[in-house]
Subunit: 330 residues, 3 copies
């Protein structure tokens, strides 16, 4: 559940594990304890010991261990350089729900990972990531984004647990970037090419996005995806994951990078500009949260809000269905 | 309303304007936006544009602007070096309610302006400013105030939206200041002279005070104001405005200065001692607020509390009448 | 009552006094006031004066002092280098309830006093002090405590307003300390000796503990106290007092020291190691409080929790009886 303290660690086999960070005895945090040679965790207040799946295996000075002596364990899966945790009932954990993110271990790309903490609700970050019209103004200095982003309206389609957003930006008078954009982001762009972007955004806040520079004549009339056989002029990928901490705090994980052939220098440049751009987002979103704290209310939506509105709807429905499940299962 | 975020800016004609600091779209603060050449404000999140009276004039990538797309505007008037804002309905804004404060632009005085932020409710500052008996102890080091202030009881009269406080302090054994008071404040004071002070204190917390040193024989028997034709030996003026931010925070604006003929040096001295004195008030009032936070309750009033009690009553009545108005007008 | 602001001072006779730290007039803290030559306290906002028992003795500029003008006074007693305050009705203050603590003024011991502030509820500190099984792990580095502490179960007996805890630790294979324990704490310990400890823990959180190193053959079969006539090989005393500030803050007073013949150097060493050990407690207890803030709940008790459970029960009963008293007496 949101707001719960979690301890992550690797067991004796190096496998990632998650326990509630709260000894069942006196509620001291297990993360102040110690990982023993047998992969067990020992609380360093009164020294109860727990197996990596949460069972209490020792109480000093006491032979009998009561059934109630355990800490909740959560399912964890390590993929794409990230740990994916299922905070609900272990039996409902479904690894097939983990999206096909791309991490530093993927040889196709040179991905650089990062992390930021937000003093903002995760849905404000979702709103930001499901509507790129903000690129023109928030990121003109970092990404060198042109005004095309605010004028274009992408195609937004509902998918399972989220939305799919695709857009083409480019052509003779609609370049996605300004002349002073970083070199690595201008790579391949010209009046004869366009940027094709497609991303899935999944609950609670996971983005996996492919961007390709393509000859503009390959843009289909319906602005749909290009033929899969086409080899792009340039390609980048980014994986991003917004994790709610509590009502007003979120943790934002991301990885960004170009395809392998672009080389380390381009990867470095993209990573630096990404960090700068994300700090621009953080500044405006945290300011937005402070205003909402002062005065909440009903927003006036624009035609650019199709993505945010659909994503909020997806999350409302998932929350509703999970709440119903919990009531039923008790 | 108290607690609302406000953005102040000058439009293309240099006129001061006030908008709610909250874009109607996503609630980003407009104060992080940009003032355009046409005097419009552009939000720098998704770039909606607003006229200086709050109408949305542009939504990028969208032709139709919904009626709901506006931010509330407030009436603002610039006088005495201050901006006076009417936080209610524009149609009820009445410029004749702005009191005759004296600011740095008044040639009769050399006024120096300042500002302090308080971690205290505005009424605690009102209590302070409507009862000068605290001068003897809080300000003996700064203003060099004598014990006369605590012993004297001023004449307090109810006026429209506030109170009028007048007092005479002085004579052979009742000097308003100690021997070590700053020179500029001792100017003209002697056993043969007295200090006459009159100030209006108006809701929510505006003080405009004239102080004059006069020959003591000009003090009327009823301790009323001196004959208006009399030329004083020395004169100072101060304007002060307590602005509630929220329940426990206030912003305090002030200007203080002697008449023009006293010269810059005296004005500087008076300003320095005023800032010192106001920091003494801030220290005791914020301490008072912390105690009240721990343990509120009913105060024991003294005979020096005529001013504070009347001023609180004025404010209670105004709040009641405005609340009634709001209910009626809905 | 918990959470009330209190001002402690010495009157004209040097006697410790306690007044509510809140002038009855405008609630300015009296602790920002001044102690006058006559032992009265003058508030330095509007200068009301109060006798050391709380009566208002002067209001500047006013002859009559209303009956309501007083601040509550509390009974205070100075003993063992500490001030013992009775926060209830003065008439119910019973000095016989002050426990026989040992302070720096006691010639039998070289006591060094100290103080720590905790961001934790006082009962979490009580839990810590009524169950020494945590010594083995929390204090292995400071006190050099061995694993015997976690394995031994002391004798816990209910006494008036608290519990009495006694234990023997020692013998050939159960040394109370590791080889690297500080020298002063190892003094007299050997395979032929044992540590005898007895302490009373009284509400709300007062510990007075005698520790003696004795020949192991003097340990009675029932592990009860040794014969009173026996002269120990080494002896220390500690007095500790946990004072609730509010629901999540406590102030912890302590004094620790060896008997006089051990000398200053041993006393210094014991004091330094005590401060280190208490900072270890503070770290784990404040972490525990933070976890509880995130997620309270029902703890799983162990057989080492006899002391904590009994002490909590003592406090529950006292709170209940005092609450009943208050209702009756109104």
């Amino acid at each position: 559940m949101i707001g719960e303290p979690i301890m992550l660690f690797r067991d004796e086999n190096g496998r990632a594990r998650a326990l509630e960070d709260r000894c069942c005895h006196r509620f001291a945090p297990l993360s102040k304890g110690r990982l023993e040679a047998d992969g067990n965790i020992r609380c360093l207040y009164h020294c109860l010991k727990f197996s990596s799946d949460g069972r209490c295996t020792e109480i000093p000075g006491q032979d009998i261990i009561p059934d109630a002596a355990f800490v909740p364990a959560y399912e964890v899966e390590e993929r794409h350089g990230w740990l994916w945790i299922w905070m609900g009932d272990k039996n409902n954990a479904d690894r097939s729900l983990i999206p096909p993110a791309v991490g530093p271990d993927d040889p196709r790309y040179i991905m650089r990972p990062g992390r930021m903490d937000y003093e903002a609700n995760y849905e404000l970050i979702n709103d930001n990531l499901t509507d790129f019209s903000h690129l023109s103004y928030v990121h003109s200095a970092s990404f060198g984004a042109s005004e095309s982003w605010a004028d274009e309206r992408p195609v937004v389609r509902r998918i399972d647990r989220g939305i799919r957003v695709t857009r083409w930006v480019g052509g003779s008078d609609k370049s996605p970037v300004n002349d002073d954009a970083p070199e690595a982001l201008r790579s391949g762009l010209s009046p004869e090419t366009a940027l094709f972007q497609t991303y899935d955004y999944l609950a609670p806040g996971i983005l996996t996005m492919l961007s390709q520079v393509l000859p503009i004549e390959l843009m289909p009339d319906d602005r749909g995806p290009p033929d899969a056989a086409v080899v792009p002029i340039m390609e980048t990928f980014t994986s991003q994951a917004v994790t709610p901490i509590d009502d007003k705090h979120s943790r934002y994980f991301f990885a960004f990078g170009p395809w392998a052939k672009a080389g380390d220098e381009a990867a470095d440049q993209i990573y630096e500009v990404t960090k700068l751009a994300f700090s621009e987002d953080k500044e405006i979103i945290e300011a937005q949260q402070r205003i909402i704290n002062l005065k909440p209310g009903r927003e006036v939506m624009t035609s650019a809000d199709v993505g945010p509105a659909q994503m909020r709807s997806v999350i409302r429905k998932l929350i509703k269905s999970e709440t119903a499940y919990e009531v039923t299962s008790q």
